[in-house]
């Protein structure tokens, strides 16, 4: 079958060989664990524990506040040390629950479900909500909300995002190789809620072993198929994935549900299975520590709330050459860290340590109108012009040239020969324009 793809995109250095074949090892944290109350889209969770309380691993420590919100669970047993603002990967100070780890990892008893097929749709949603499942591909949208579209009978596709298009990242790769049964289990649970839908697992072709493995397993699954995708960044972008797999297009004012699709990351679907079938909340997930400055790049199964610095030590620390840049997430859309003393949340999947910082190696020069940004943009925008409007504060022109459609993937900036900071200018302008709209 031909490879599906989308228009635009770039081909950055893959970098996945550093950690691809390293098996996932459980990392049990030693120090304190920090749980930011906002690690999802929507209202921050409300703490339901107080300083001094004892907590067990798997115990709920914060309740979802409102419809679009998610609960938070402790990943260790110990005592609540403090509830105070702490630095997160984005640089913000966010109110967090700090738990002193007693090292015992005493767990609550989980309420597993014998037969998931006997559960009603409402019961499944409730169990997903009670497991605190959010979009684990990075966006952190509360999954129980995503799975409650207005018109469920119109949903025709449940798409599992196994693209993992960001270079260096291999956490989803390992999930698909090691936990494929759980992935399919999770998909079947979601499919049971949407009778008109078929399931599609989208995987980039730089993971041929995943494609082979899952295709074999899906042979006996009447409602699930595997869609091999051309390896190109940002194939894992929601809109690009939907386009490649179904041919349907959505814009910034639409939800995937408007095109009859629901897209979930593979780790999210595995978490759905764990939550609904095993009654286990989201307290661990896969995480890749990699980059040319890391002594032992590898994959971990981490406890949510683990300190970045502690995990880097577990990967052998930095090589003697040191690192100029540390990225939480992938190199195209991740956040540069100025301090490793930040916690891993439900939504961060990687730490990349680079010896050199490519972004600051070059001085930006004049735009030569070459059009590489136009060819690269998966949203068919003219990034060079949008950046010009942004730099000159022209909000009207920015909107007219579809600046708000930008998905902030960074493809334009990756290929710009003048080394202009296109993505940065456009991202900043988007925030300003959206803030203006909210004021009105």
């Amino acid at each position: 079958m031909g490879l599906k793809t989308f228009k635009g995109g770039v081909h950055p250095y893959d970098g996945k060989d550093l950690s691809k074949s390293k098996p996932v090892t459980d990392y049990l944290p030693k120090g304190d664990l920090v749980f930011p109350l906002s690690q999802h889209i929507g209202a921050p969770a409300t703490p339901i524990v107080a300083v001094g309380d004892s907590v067990l691993r798997g115990q709920k420590i914060a309740e979802a506040s409102g419809f679009v919100s998610a609960a938070i669970f402790s990943s260790v047993s110990g005592t609540v040390k403090a509830i105070e603002p702490r630095r997160t990967t984005t640089g913000d100070m966010v109110n967090s629950i700090i738990i002193e780890n007693d090292g015992a990892f005493t767990e609550v008893t989980y309420d597993s479900c014998e037969d998931v097929l006997s559960l009603s749709k409402e019961q499944i949603i409730e169990r997903i909500k009670e497991a605190g499942v959010v979009g684990m591909g990075g966006a952190g949208f509360p999954t129980h909300v995503k799975l409650s579209p207005k018109e469920p009978e119109k949903i025709e596709y449940i798409i599992a995002n196994g693209a993992e298009c960001e270079p260096y990242l291999t956490s989803d790769y390992r999930n698909m190789m090691d936990e494929a049964e759980l992935l399919i289990g999770g998909m079947n649970i979601v499919l049971s809620m949407f009778p008109n839908a078929k399931g599609i697992i989208g995987i980039e072709d730089n993971k041929p072993d995943c494609i082979e493995r899952l295709t074999k397993m899906c042979a006996s699954e009447p409602r699930i198929d595997v869609a091999p995708l051309m390896t190109k960044y940002p194939q894992g972008g929601e809109r690009q994935l939907i386009h490649a797999v179904t041919g349907r297009d959505i814009n910034s004012k639409m939800l995937p549900a408007d095109a009859g699709c629901i897209v979930d990351n593979v780790e999210t679907l595995i978490s759905i299975y764990r939550g609904v079938k095993l009654g286990r909340p989201v307290i661990t997930h896969n995480f890749t520590v990699t980059g040319d400055a890391v002594a032992e790049p590898q994959n971990f199964r981490i406890c949510v709330g683990t300190n970045f610095e502690e995990l880097l030590e577990a990967a052998g620390g930095l090589k003697a050459s040191g690192a100029k840049k540390m990225i939480a997430g992938g190199p195209m859309m991740g956040f540069a860290l100025f301090d490793l003393n930040v916690p891993i949340t439900k939504t961060t999947s990687a730490l990349i340590c680079m010896t050199e910082d490519e972004a600051s190696l070059y001085e930006p020069s004049a735009c030569i109108n070459c059009g590489r940004c136009v060819e690269a943009c998966p949203e068919q925008l003219i990034p060079s012009r949008l950046a010009d409007f942004a730099e000159h504060g022209q909000k009207g022109e920015f909107e007219k040239w579809y600046g708000l459609e930008c998905i902030e993937c960074g493809s334009c900036t990756y290929g710009c020969p003048a080394r202009r900071h296109l993505a940065q200018s456009i991202k900043t302008m988007k925030k300003l324009v959206l803030a203006d709209k909210r004021k009105k």
């Binding site: 228009k7 814009n251 680079m354 109108n369 012009r385 579809y402 900036t413």
Partner: protein, 319 residues
């Protein structure tokens, strides 16, 4: 961690192509035509090329030094302008004229308007038009051709055709004809063009539509019907190949929008055809490009692509 960490906005990685590398690719792609030009026209052609490039680079260097601006000569764009300008000279012009042309191209057309990326017209062609208007005699003297016999035989192929004569198309493809230093050899130019296409520097949107439009226009209005020799001569002659592949594709002065490029190519083709067939001179490419350069901002505004997933309807976005 003793050193401070770098913090920038994403993305944190970059591709390997920068402006200098792209300019280098263009220079390399022009080498076949340059070498052939030197062989066809002699040592004076080589001198002109060197002098023009030097004039461009030094003009940029001293302009920036005088105005306390950061020096940009390392990006090689002045070298490209100098080379393209020289390839558009007849081989007989005096060296001082080449120097003047280089200075005009860089200082007036490029630097005065804001430097790299800000020129509204192709600097090499702008300078060429300036010289043609100011020194028509010199700029239309094509006697430097190595097989020079007499003034009549040394007219450029298109001039010969316009005057009613016939030309040997094989010589035009090979390049052993009179003309400007770089425009004569179709083969040398095409080799360079293929290199540029393979390196991802240009695509066929502009040159393809340009040449195709000229061919169709000539077919319809040329007055010779489907005369294959005539058509091939029109395509290989008059600087169309060097114009279509190397001058019209200049990034700064061509549209950035994909549809805009196609419209640009079509307008170029129409104008070139009109100038050639209905105009007094046998040439048309330089003026067509320079004129259409002026239309580019307008073309861009009307060809802004519809963003992904957006339906351009009067009622608003598709829900």
């Amino acid at each position: 961690m003793s050193d401070l960490l770098h913090v920038t906005s994403s993305p944190h990685v970059r591709g390997k192509d920068d402006t200098t590398r792209i300019m280098l690719y263009v220079i390399i792609s022009l080498l076949p035509a340059t070498c052939f030009g030197i062989w066809n026209f002699g040592v004076h052609a080589l001198l002109l090329i060197l002098v023009t490039v030097a004039s461009c680079v030094l003009s940029e260097y001293f302009y920036e030094k005088l105005l306390h601006k950061r020096s940009t000569i390392k990006d090689l764009s002045a070298v490209v302008t100098g080379l393209l300008l020289a390839l558009n000279f007849p081989s007989t012009i005096p060296l001082w004229m080449a120097i003047l042309g280089g200075m005009f191209a860089i200082i007036v057309v490029k630097m005065l308007f804001g430097g790299l990326g800000q020129n509204f017209m192709n600097p090499a062609l702008g300078a060429r038009c300036f010289l043609v208007i100011s020194f028509t005699g010199y700029m239309t003297d094509f006697s430097g051709y190595k097989d020079y016999v007499d003034a009549f035989a040394s007219a450029t192929p298109l001039a010969t055709i316009k005057a009613g004569g016939s030309v040997d198309v094989m010589r035009m493809i090979l390049g052993t004809t009179p003309g400007t230093i770089g425009e004569t050899s179709a083969i040398a130019l095409l080799i360079g063009a293929i290199f540029l296409i393979l390196m991802g520097v240009i695509d066929l949107r502009i040159p393809g539509t340009y040449i195709l439009t000229v061919a169709i226009f000539t077919l319809i209005f040329g007055g010779r019907g489907f005369d294959a020799q005539y058509l091939v001569a029109q395509i290989c002659g008059g600087g169309l190949l060097i114009g279509a592949f190397f001058m019209a594709t200049d990034y700064v002065t061509s549209p950035i929008t994909p549809t805009g490029k196609i419209i640009y190519g079509i307008i170029l083709g129409l104008l070139t055809g009109i100038f050639r067939i209905f105009g007094a001179s046998a040439e048309g490419v330089s003026y067509a490009i320079v004129f259409t350069n002026l239309l580019v901002p307008l073309i861009e505004r009307f060809t802004v692509p519809r963003a992904f997933g957006v339906v351009r309807e009067k009622g608003g976005k598709k829900a």
